[in-house]
């Protein structure tokens, strides 16, 4: 591995100052499950690696109030997947966190790292989209809030500037009853990157949100408010027509080795139908 210098700031202010002084020559480190691969293969060549794990303001953890669940950006997938309230109210996020990589990867990989890497195939991106999460970001000008739908720009690029840090991810606790699910298609069971990711939420007002990834430069969120998708009695034909419109925004690339564009588009429809059906079932459960 090419040499770099390593900093382990003990305050958020020091970390932000390091990033501000070094711009794109600095890379933040949390779990390292993406960054260390890139340091080794040379696709990331920072002068300074800034380890965020000794900063009190960035300690991992999940906090709840009556209307909000806040996940620290450094929280590991293992802890998100196992958290009781995440499982109860944000099941698609727990399901997504539980399928990232392997046990070894989930013990290390953080939610903040997963979204800041902005892989179109990131498993946690689509559940955060259906739950209308907000990313809390610290930068030189202070703290700001970025709705997750504005966060992903394209593969490897987010709304963050090089001098910004994601502090936490807020999930508003739904005021309505909801059913939700996360599904993915991979080449092998177990440890693999997804060829298609799909999250779906339906609520008791008939609103359906579908978010899907790995079929374009950024994950896409579509909200459907006619009530047809969420209606257990609507015909398959009526739902299929709506899903066709929803999936028309998918633009899978030709170049990927994981799956052809044709396969991804076919699986998008399969997972879409399946996700809507599961979300409806879960909404109906007491």
């Amino acid at each position: 591995m090419r040499a770099f210098s390593y900093e382990r700031p003990e305050t958020l202010a020091d970390a932000l100052a390091l990033l501000a002084a070094n711009g794109r020559d600095a890379r933040p480190l949390v779990g390292g499950t993406d960054l260390i691969i890139r340091l080794r293969d040379g696709t990331a060549r920072p002068r300074i690696v800034v380890d965020l794990k000794r900063i009190p303001e960035l300690r991992p953890g999940i906090e709840t109030t009556t209307d909000l669940l806040t996940i620290g950006a450094t929280t590991a997938m293992t802890d998100i997947a196992a958290h009781a309230l995440v499982r109860q109210r944000f099941l698609a996020l727990a399901e997504a966190a539980a399928v990232v990589g392997s046990v070894q990867i989930r013990n290390r990989a953080s939610l903040g790292g997963n979204i800041c890497n902005a892989s179109p195939a990131a498993d946690t991106a689509t559940p955060l989209l259906i739950y209308e999460a907000v990313v809390i970001v610290a930068g030189p000008g202070g703290t700001r809030r970025i709705p997750i739908r504005d966060f992903f720009i394209r593969s490897g690029e987010t709304a963050l500037r090089p001098e910004d840090l994601a502090l936490s991810i807020e999930l508003p606790i739904p005021g309505h009853r909801t059913g939700s699910v996360h599904l993915r298609r991979t080449r092998r069971r177990g440890h693999d990157l997804a060829s298609v990711t799909m999250s779906c939420l339906v609520d008791d007002r008939g609103i359906t949100r579908l978010a899907f990834g790995s079929v374009g430069p950024r994950p896409i969120l579509v909200e459907e408010t006619t009530g047809v998708l969420a209606d257990p009695g609507a015909t398959d034909g009526a739902k299929a027509a709506l899903l066709e419109t929803i999936f028309s925004s998918a633009t899978p690339s030709q170049g990927s080795m994981r799956a052809s564009p044709e396969y991804r588009l076919a699986m998008l429809r399969v997972l879409g139908r399946r996700a809507v059906a599961i979300a409806i079932d879960r909404l109906a459960q007491p």
Binding site: A3, Y6, L39, R40, S102, H191
Partner: protein, 161 residues
């Protein structure tokens, strides 16, 4: 050229022994275990966190040592494959891997055993599905998954907890 390399002292507990050493900040935990501490049980293989041959337990959780910088391990407690046998005797899990034919070429086995050890610590009575998920991050090119799963399940049964 080595003048440019930043080195930092770290203190880690490795298989119960406190170790203080100085590491290059761009060296991984796997580099330091193998090259500086001569603990060569953890294997270097894919170096991208897919094969699990370098699996170690860091503060109670398995990690791929190829994806952790050695400096990140400062202040932690590690268990490697070398820490599972005691006084020259294999742990029941290690013995079960041999008894059930889980060990063929042997290269992936340190990682498999460490993952299985951590699985049984968290979940003393795993189902077959729990075992498959628990070792999904450990590849075996000899294809001994059935024998390895059998060894893990029999160890859990025999422990009788």
């Amino acid at each position: 050229m080595n003048d440019d390399v930043q080195r930092l002292p770290i203190s880690v507990t490795v298989n119960g022994d406190e170790r203080v050493l100085e590491v290059a900040v761009h060296h991984t935990l796997l580099d330091v275990l193998r090259d500086d501490l001569a603990l060569t049980g953890s294997k270097e293989c894919c170096l991208v966190g897919e094969c699990g041959a370098c699996t170690v337990i860091l503060d109670g959780r398995t990690v791929d040592a190829c994806l952790v910088l050695a400096v990140e391990a400062d202040g932690t407690s590690l268990t490697t494959i070398e820490g599972l046998a005691s006084e020259g005797r294999l742990s029941p899990l290690q013995a079960a891997f041999l008894d059930h034919g889980g060990v063929q070429c042997g290269f992936c086995i340190p990682g498999q055993v460490v993952s299985a050890h951590a699985l049984l610590q968290d979940n003393p009575h795993p189902t077959r599905a729990d075992v498959d998920e628990g070792i999904a991050g450990n590849l075996c090119r000899c294809g001994c998954y059935e024998q390895i799963a059998e060894a893990i399940l029999r160890t859990a049964e025999a422990s009788g907890r």
